[in-house]
Symmetry: C2
Subunit: 258 residues, 2 copies
């Protein structure tokens, strides 16, 4: 199978760099074809701007959404964006690897999503009617592909536990899992998170690789997170609120898991 | 009072640009001194790297945390970072204004936090002992200052309601409010969020300015979000989990509000 690894750490000799090398080797040894987008090494441009279209802004003002739609539709996107979209189309699975900085992904990776997820590619896809609100949240261009986060933190696991001061890791990652991966159709696998990595010695590194290797060996069998499909009947349209009889009385991120 | 406005939109003629201009005028008319960090106009560098220290990486490997600490302590930070820190020290209130892209802030703004929030400046501050775990979450260098988000979304308000498909707005913003603003000590005000802004006509723009103006007029009186202080007795140290008798049986972001 084809696996794309998106890697966002500035230092090749970091723990993240070592885990990336381990993942590439493990996947290749299992017979997969691997492409790596090493965002720092590529000098990835993080900020959306009018240069993302070969034609610049279409009108007097730069309109991020409309200009992205036009450039995508007309094959006039910046070459770096088109190349990453081609990798996504090629991939059967995508691994997104990063250190958790300020409770989200590094800026360079956020900018990869913002620019590669063009209007017409990852959003603004499909009909909008009274029974279907775009091909999103379980449908979309990336449906049928799998995605998994591989994340490191400096903080302790307890700090990210259900009553930990940082908030639960599942909730911190929800906007990525649900909002950025499930949204254009990916099946989202449970994340692989390594905590307190400043204290990682060789013994723990070996154990981490063993556990991560097992996740890679089962990449195409692991059950995805059971997010609800937006257009399959659980939500009112167009308010897109969960119907009253589904998880009655409950609120928050958790209600979007079946 | 001194107010710093951090603005992250690529187009000066956008709604966000118009709201920025409105805010500057309103604050100045009320007698405040205003500085604006217009990140796109400044060409803000989003990605952390070894160039963030005038000395480059201190060792063979670039260590984002350790090198940031050294550069901050020795006055060897890149000039753009030091300038933004000086603005934060100067400010009594900070307004952070952005369009919500993929359920978080734009990459360029995320990169502002990552680079300006140096080790020793916004994290890695204060003692770590069995009764105090760093000056953070209610203590820290930015304590005594106020912060408020001003956010626009394309999606409808119902999509961000407690049972809306995107997840509740308060939960989507929690990693920013709690993890990036309360963390170094800011008092965090309730956000000002404008939904479905692609349908903003002149009447709604006027109403939005009126409501936003009122928030600016009361910037120094509005009650902050009542996040719990990490070192004031509610949390076990060092596990940093909420003590069992506080919000017993509850979990998730909400338990961190008193």
């Amino acid at each position: 199978m084809n696996t794309l690894l998106i890697h966002a750490h500035p230092e090749p000799l970091s723990l993240n760099g070592s885990l990336k090398n381990f993942m590439v080797g493990r996947l290749q040894a299992a017979g997969h074809t691997v492409q790596v987008s090493d965002l720092y090494a590529m000098g990835w441009k993080a900020a959306i701007d009018a240069d993302d279209s070969l034609d610049g802004a279409a009108g007097e003002r730069f309109l991020p959404d409309a200009d992205s739609r036009l450039a995508f539709a007309n094959g006039r996107q910046s070459a770096d964006i088109a190349a990453e979209q081609a990798k996504l189309e090629w991939a059967d699975a995508v691994i997104i690897q990063f250190p958790l900085w300020w409770f989200s992904m590094p800026a360079i990776l956020k900018g990869w999503f913002e620019r590669v997820y063009a209007n017409g590619f990852a959003y603004g896809v499909g009909e909008h009617s009274d029974h279907h609100w775009g091909d999103r949240y379980g449908e979309g261009r990336l449906a049928g592909k799998r995605a998994m986060l591989v994340v490191t933190t400096g903080g302790w696991e307890s700090h990210y536990s259900p009553r930990g001061v940082n908030g639960p890791m599942d909730d911190i990652l929800f906007p990525i899992h649900h909002g950025m991966l499930w949204y254009p159709g990916f099946d989202v696998l449970p994340p692989f998170v390594s905590y307190r990595v400043s204290r990682m010695d060789e013994v723990r590194f070996a154990a981490t690789c063993a556990a991560l290797g097992e996740r890679l060996d089962t990449l195409f069998e692991t059950a995805p997170i059971p997010f609800r499909r937006q257009n399959a009947g659980d939500y009112e349209i167009p308010s897109l609120t969960l119907k009253p009889h589904i998880a009655p009385g409950e609120e928050g991120f958790g209600v979007h898991l079946a």
